[in-house]
């Protein structure tokens, strides 16, 4: 089992794009008991990875309840860093 933050980045690498809600949904099977697998925490992880060039925004939209969802995808640089550092 990988640390949660690693799993978040690995998941992003395996899909074309994902929002924080998508990440939580995808990881809740294995990491559901983790207190850190919450919307705020995952959103901040993704925004921090974006700030450091690992991810970039794909698009954003609103759901039926007018909640904002930003979708991220891995950059080429991010993919090389993730492959190099996270097994």
């Amino acid at each position: 089992m990988r640390p949660l933050n690693y799993a978040i980045l690995k998941h992003l690498e395996s899909v074309p794009f994902a929002s924080p809600t998508d990440v939580i949904e995808a990881l809740k099977g294995e990491y559901g008991s983790f207190k850190a697998l919450r919307f705020e925490g995952v959103r901040e992880s993704l925004m921090t990875a974006e700030q450091n060039g690992l991810l970039e925004e794909d698009h954003y939209d609103l759901d039926d309840q007018e909640n904002l969802h930003i979708y991220y995808r891995v950059t080429d640089y991010g993919r090389s860093m993730i492959d190099k550092y996270i097994k």
Binding site: P3, N5, T48, A49, Q51, L62, Y85
Partner: protein
């Protein structure tokens, strides 16, 4: 309409993330000030008062070099214990163990060794040989971190940010109360070199560990940092310095007394904000980039004397801790420098005109 609302919410979230990053990076300096004040208080009480007192049985070398390392060893070890407990409470203890065995975990360990035992010792040796000039040179760590962030991670570093860093560096010089008597001997050069090594160590730590926090959870990262630094100080640095002092048996004796003195309570208190300051430093730097994150943290040059004045001067009634008007002015100058790195002042004028 829906598109407009989405854009508004999007802009709001972006601005909120940026503000949070700046607040976190500034808080790291405040925690550093709090920890320094309690550590200074602890190192004046109990067995430390005997060690540093006029009737001290310890040699000048031990008092000058070994005791600082003992203080760091006790502080970082206790801080590591605090963060192991906090990680357990927040369900992250297993992630600490898992991260230890990975490449980013190894990078964090190397950063801890560079910024912990190596840079801290260089800083103390610098202070002892070149006085506050070494502290001034060590304040270059923000600038070094920003340059490394540009070179290693392609982060933004434009002319406005460079000017802001220079303003912050200038105010750190004033806050450090730099005085120079004009005698520039070999020991001063050694001290300046040591101060630069400290700046380099902290610059590397802030920049690399800050970037590492985009991969590793910041609390997990700082738990690794403090445990590594504490153990390296305890097991390697203090015995090594005692060996240089000619008595390796002194290491367990000094450490044993440092952990059992009444003053340990101040170290226990100091160790929590110490770990928090590193955690917020890494997290803030990851959220804002090395240039802004490290200069926000660098405001500790103001927070340290401020909190020492509050705790030691106002609460404990010790004389000599009051801040001078020049130091207050330098603090304002430093915050202007941080503001300059964070944003273009002309943007504010443009918004008003709009």
């Amino acid at each position: 309409m829906a598109t407009n609302l989405a854009k508004q919410k999007y802009d709001l979230q972006k601005a909120s993330f940026f503000r949070k990053g700046v607040a976190i990076a500034l808080s790291s300096g405040i925690c550093f000030g709090t920890y320094s004040a309690f550590l200074t208080l602890g190192m004046e009480r109990g067995v430390w008062a005997d060690w540093y007192g006029p009737a001290s049985a310890l040699s000048a070398f031990v008092v000058t070099y070994v005791l600082s390392a003992v203080g760091s060893a006790v502080n970082d070890t206790l801080s590591g214990i605090w963060f192991l407990i906090l990680s357990a409470a927040r369900g992250k203890l297993a992630d600490v163990g898992r991260t230890f065995r990975t490449k980013p975990g190894l990078v964090m360990i190397i950063c801890a060794l560079i910024g912990g035992p190596l840079a801290s010792t260089a800083y103390v040796v610098g202070l002892q040989t070149a006085g506050s000039l070494a502290a001034t040179v060590a304040a270059l760590n923000s600038a070094i971190g920003a340059i490394l962030g540009r070179l290693l991670f392609k982060q933004t570093l434009n002319l406005r940010m460079v000017v802001g860093i220079i303003v912050c560096f200038g105010s750190a010089i004033i806050l450090g109360g730099t005085t120079f008597d004009g005698e520039f001997g070999g020991s001063t050069l050694l001290g300046l070199f040591m101060g630069f090594l400290a700046a380099l160590g902290w610059g590397i730590e802030g920049c690399v560990a800050g970037f590492g926090t985009s991969v590793i959870d910041s609390q997990v990262g700082v738990t690794i940092r403090q445990c590594t630094s504490g153990l390296a100080n305890l097991i390697i640095l203090v015995p090594l310095l005692c060996l240089v002092a000619g008595n390796i048996g002194l290491a367990p004796e000094l450490l044993g007394q440092a952990f059992t003195t009444d003053a340990i309570i101040f170290f226990v208190i100091a160790a929590l904000p110490a770990g928090l300051s590193y955690m917020l430093w890494y997290r803030g730097t990851a959220m804002c980039g090395a240039a802004l994150g490290m200069t926000c943290n660098g405001a500790y040059a103001f927070w340290v004397p401020l909190f020492c004045w509050i705790l030691l001067g106002l609460i404990c009634g010790e004389p000599g801790w009051a801040l001078t008007p020049v130091q207050w002015a330098a603090a304002f100058m430093m915050f202007f420098g941080i503001f300059l790195i964070a944003m273009n002042p002309l943007d504010l004028l443009k918004k008003k005109e709009a």
